[in-house]
């Protein structure tokens, strides 16, 4: 019995190593994403799923090697213009804002990547694959609304309907045998790609609330709590993921939107620091 347990434990370690190797390779992650099937991902660690302990320090813990990496996702792009006002289009405004937010966050010492840095429109899966390639990552999707009071900013975490039927699970290899094999793995090790965000909902909700609290101070009239909305861009992210939407693209003063980048970056940075459990550190 003891030997059998040891063998099982060794097998689980091997599977975990394979999953980690796959996850560390952006190519393999993209390949899995392209298959549109599974997010091969170990369960989030306690630090990623649990809100920070109340005693967590408000100041960052300097650490060169600790995360998080921040992935900024300027929404839309290419032929998908997003919201559009008389003179501005969401896809252009969010790219401009994302570049400024990136510069500000990098100035503060964070490692920042963007899902697009030109007028392209990566698929949702491609955007998710950028974030899912990193172990300790925070995904921020940037949007500009077509409604809402000008100058207000909202943070959202995604939601899944509680009554959803279980998502069909197919095998990356595409064979029935592979389906059986993969289904027999420890359940928490495999996530349906389309619901990969599910184990991170609490962490995302917590981070979104922290960001929103900061936004409420920086942008007068913004709500005090984040909203839960099934945002498509967040569905397949295997990390804390938040969408931030600035109102609105129809403002008569578009400079108001781009001027929001620095306070927005500050709000995100402060919320990230507050969300980290004691000792987790930030890249500074």
């Amino acid at each position: 019995m003891g030997r059998r347990s040891a063998l099982l434990a060794a097998a689980c370690r091997d599977i975990s190593d394979i999953l980690c190797a796959v996850r560390k390779s952006p190519f393999l992650v993209s390949l899995v994403a392209a298959a549109g099937i599974l997010a091969l991902q170990p369960l989030p660690t306690a630090a990623q799923t649990s809100p920070a302990a109340p005693s967590a320090p408000a100041s960052p813990q300097p650490s060169a090697s600790a995360g998080p990496v921040i992935v900024l996702d300027p929404a839309h792009g290419g032929t998908d213009t997003g919201a559009h006002g008389e003179t501005a289009m969401e896809k252009d405004v969010v790219l401009q804002i994302a570049r400024s937010v990136r510069a500000e966050l990098e100035r503060q010492g964070y490692r920042v990547f963007m899902t697009r840095n030109d007028d392209s429109n990566p698929s949702y899966d491609d955007r998710a694959a950028v974030a899912n390639a990193y172990r300790d990552v925070i995904f921020i999707s940037l949007h500009v609304a077509s409604t809402g009071a000008d100058g207000t900013v909202r943070a959202y975490y995604t939601q899944f309907a509680t009554s959803n039927p279980p998502a069909p699970v197919a095998a990356a290899a595409g064979s029935p045998a592979a389906i059986t094999r993969l289904s027999n793995l420890p359940a928490p090790a495999l996530l349906a790609w389309v619901e990969a965000q599910r184990p991170y909902l609490n962490a995302s909700h917590h981070l979104a609330d922290l960001i929103q609290a900061e936004l409420a101070q920086a942008f007068s009239g913004s709500p005090s709590a984040a909203g839960g909305v099934p945002v498509r861009a967040l569905r397949s992210i295997t990390a804390p993921a938040v969408a931030v939407e600035i109102s609105s693209v129809s403002t008569p003063t578009p400079d108001l939107l781009t001027a929001s980048a620095v306070p927005l970056a500050d709000a995100i940075a402060r919320a990230i620091v507050a969300s980290r459990p004691a000792g987790a550190g930030v890249t500074r």
Binding site: A145, T147, G148, A149, A161, T162, V231, R232
Partner: protein
């Protein structure tokens, strides 16, 4: 002037004349099509504006969720004749939501939106099939799309108690998002079970 040049110039003049004549005819055709489209829209509006009535209609105090400002929805109480049949009742409510907002500013879904079909499965799943206009004429944005979906879901939830969840289709198809942001591949919960007593809450 060489003869060949004269022929070329002559051909060019003929081509320009043909182009002008064709352009005028093309312009007239485009105008006619635009008029037809307007007439089509008028006819559609007339159809949409026609109230749905059933033999079991009873006037009740209904709650319809329209926009209350630029960033939230709120119920508006109104007396409406509603059917006892949940399918017809839902159609009547969604028709009211689309066609009769108290003011244009309270509209949450595009005016041209038509409800193409509405079904209820035995497990309480409602399937609402809307025309393309719901997606194509919806202003893109998380907030605007959330308000649209919530106005539909909360209106149904408040007036049709048998419904448990809602699936939104566009022209009979499942679509990825409403207008680029809000996920329509899943279901929206309606009438969630009552929260457990305060003493048993795990928060």
């Amino acid at each position: 002037m060489p003869r060949a040049m004269k022929i070329v110039i002559g051909l060019l003049i003929v081509a320009v004349l043909i182009g002008l004549i064709s352009f005028r005819s093309l312009h007239r055709r485009v105008q006619r099509l635009a008029e037809l489209q307007t007439a089509d829209e008028k006819a559609r509006h007339e159809v949409l504006a026609t109230p749905i009535s059933t033999p079991t209609d009873v006037t009740v105090n209904a709650k319809i969720f329209w926009a209350a400002g630029s960033d939230r929805i709120a119920p508006v109480q109104m007396q409406l004749p509603l059917s006892a049949d949940p399918v017809e009742r839902s159609r009547q409510l969604l028709n009211e939501l689309t066609v009769n907002p108290p003011t244009p500013g309270q509209r949450t879904i595009p005016a041209d939106t038509a409800l193409l079909g509405f079904y209820i499965l035995p497990d309480g799943t409602a399937i609402a099939d809307f025309s393309d206009a719901l997606s194509s004429e919806m202003p893109s944005g998380i907030l605007s799309e959330e308000m649209a979906v919530n106005s539909i879901a909360r209106t149904l939830e408040s007036n049709v108690p048998v419904l448990r969840r809602l699936k939104i289709l566009i022209h009979g198809q499942e679509v990825d998002t409403l207008a680029g942001n809000v996920d329509l591949t899943g279901f929206f919960d309606l009438n969630p079970p009552a929260a457990p007593p305060a003493g048993k809450s795990h928060h």
